[in-house]
Symmetry: D2
Subunit: 132 residues, 4 copies
């Protein structure tokens, strides 16, 4: 299963080099993950209010081609199983059919600083089912 989200570079996301700043891609990837989660009925902000925090443990990003002001691109997201208490997102950005940036990130759910098994939280169990 894959989730695809179309986005567009906003000028303020670009830096003095005239391209999207490296850190911004993490925002793009985060937004795509949260939109996907939301579509599954999992709301990041609501979870946070309940003390359940979906947090990244690790992220890897490969920058191949920079995005520029005004460009339209698509963020593709896949979810891989990571065991009882971890999920792995594979995400990549495509512009006009060519791969620009790819990423792999590991996420856990934490309550009061302690990792939670997804199975214990009905609203999160879905994630494990979706993972390939």
């Amino acid at each position: 299963m894959m989730f695809s989200l179309q986005m567009k570079v906003r000028d303020y996301e670009c830096d003095v080099q005239g391209v999207v700043n490296n850190a911004r891609y993490l925002h793009y990837f985060e937004h795509a993950r949260h939109e996907w989660l939301h579509e599954m009925g999992i709301d990041f902000a609501s979870l946070a209010k309940d003390g359940l925090h979906l947090m990244l443990r690790r992220v890897e990003v490969d920058y191949r081609q920079p995005l520029r002001p005004g460009e339209v691109f698509t963020v593709h997201s896949r979810l891989l199983s990571g065991g009882r208490a971890k999920v792995i997102f594979e995400q990549w950005i495509e512009r006009d059919g060519s791969l620009c940036v790819s990423s792999r990130s590991e996420a856990v759910v934490v309550r009061n600083g302690r990792p939670q098994a997804f199975g214990k939280h009905p609203e999160l169990a879905l994630l494990v089912g979706v993972a390939e």
Copy 2:
């Protein structure tokens, strides 16, 4: 050789979870790298004006403990040799003696979209010398 920069979390860098947003750490690491380069006499913004772009090819980040509003932390940076046309930065964030976030990033210098050997640019050759 190591470069250490003390910084402080600003409230606007934190998100609804009450901790520094994941993407922000890339900003902290970038700023620490640029400050170090600047100390060596290499100015990121001036290079960009001359068409020389120091660009990340890959970044890995391990999030161990989140930073919170107002916390003071130190970004440590080391430079590893990466051959003729690449440098590798190892960076980590420490707060009160405990490791919070660590990162490894690969950077190249590009002119007109083509990677440049550092040796050809006197202002960059220094980087190779500093690398361990």
Copy 3:
């Protein structure tokens, strides 16, 4: 004449208060202005490359109701005449028919630090025509 752009709050745009950070609204307004300019054939990033900088001189923002994670909103923009070398944008954000944030900003075009009469630059003259 009015330009309307629909947008959606991204989680990372919100701060520890759980609402969109005050500075972010300037990004929303900027993006809406640039999208409008782009539709008129004026490209902010290209102008910058040519040394023509569209710059804000002054901005006023009234915050009435905060936007929250995931909310869909519309940025409306109007352009008022400001004389030979200045334009005035009136912009406001509406969510579900209620006014959330409004803004008034004055912009000039500068080359080498000096204000430019819009009439002298064909690509900008259009702005004066659109202004009410």
Copy 4:
């Protein structure tokens, strides 16, 4: 009474025009306000956890001279009385003795969406005392 905070432009805060992006100044001003409040013993993030939200109602910014990458600047802040339930901050950014950006912002304290008289909250009453 005045609070002054020295800061330095970070490269990622600048946009394709090579200067600090307009919205960033609101971050600088916010950070300076929060640092000042913190020095008075008022912690923005803690207040938010207690459901007390210090919120801007209005902000005005005059952009005179842009800040550029690496520049050191000082944010000066003054507090004007605004009555029982409002404070007014006057803030300005100075670089090498010349005025770059100035701002005036009105802030209120809100609990459950309702404005609070500062006098009712001992931790906030101080603000009124400091105001000129």
